[in-house]
Symmetry: C2
Subunit: 143 residues, 2 copies
Amino acid sequence: MTAKGEARVRETIDALAQALRDKDTDTLMTHYAPDVVTFDVVPPLRVDGAEAYRRNFETWFASVRGPIDYEVRDLRIACDDHLAVCHHVARVRSTRTMGAKSDYEVRVTSVLQMREGRWLVTHEHISMPVDMQTMQAASGAGH
Amino acid sequence: MTAKGEARVRETIDALAQALRDKDTDTLMTHYAPDVVTFDVVPPLRVDGAEAYRRNFETWFASVRGPIDYEVRDLRIACDDHLAVCHHVARVRSTRTMGAKSDYEVRVTSVLQMREGRWLVTHEHISMPVDMQTMQAASGAGH
């Protein structure tokens, strides 16, 4: 676990966040392994592979007018030579295509593996907590 | 990333699942680092430390009559010398103290670090997907 290794992981997370803000799907997907397994904030339970995950981003980006305000909070990184894990809380603010403001928080865990000299995301888990009595999500910051 | 290392991570995940089934909080908590950061299925957004996480388990176990049927599906493990990541989908079936049957699926990502010769969970993320229109959780298998 070296400072240099951690810095390169942090660069990848920064690049991912910037691609989200820019709604730049092509740049975003360069950071995912083809066989990435995702537990996304929206159904289904599990998404297998980068092609399927790309469609989730495309659907999201198409629902938003202009850029996405994606704020990374409390980023923590742990890394070994070939494996790294990052987690953060993201505050996500945007304007929907119909004009409504959207403002919520999600928890994000990203797992990266070193492949051919680059860090690629091989697993991602994004969620909101759920009240088990009402089954309603607790969206945090706002609506 | 050795087969032996992976086998020891798998043993830890098996032990965690068995402690959940038995509602054995003391055994369960031996597998968590004191500074574990958790994104739990229920609010709040983030739980800091093993003592706070223990209270989540105690609340859950107190709401259930008899054992918990905790089924681990699609377990994947990646491990390096000092860091390991596991993810699975869990089907969770139980009987509530008031007699109602409970049956749902959650996604679980567990991060372990090797500390003083043992694997300890340093981060855990557990969730259900949420329909962003209705903000209702998609509980999967049942209710």
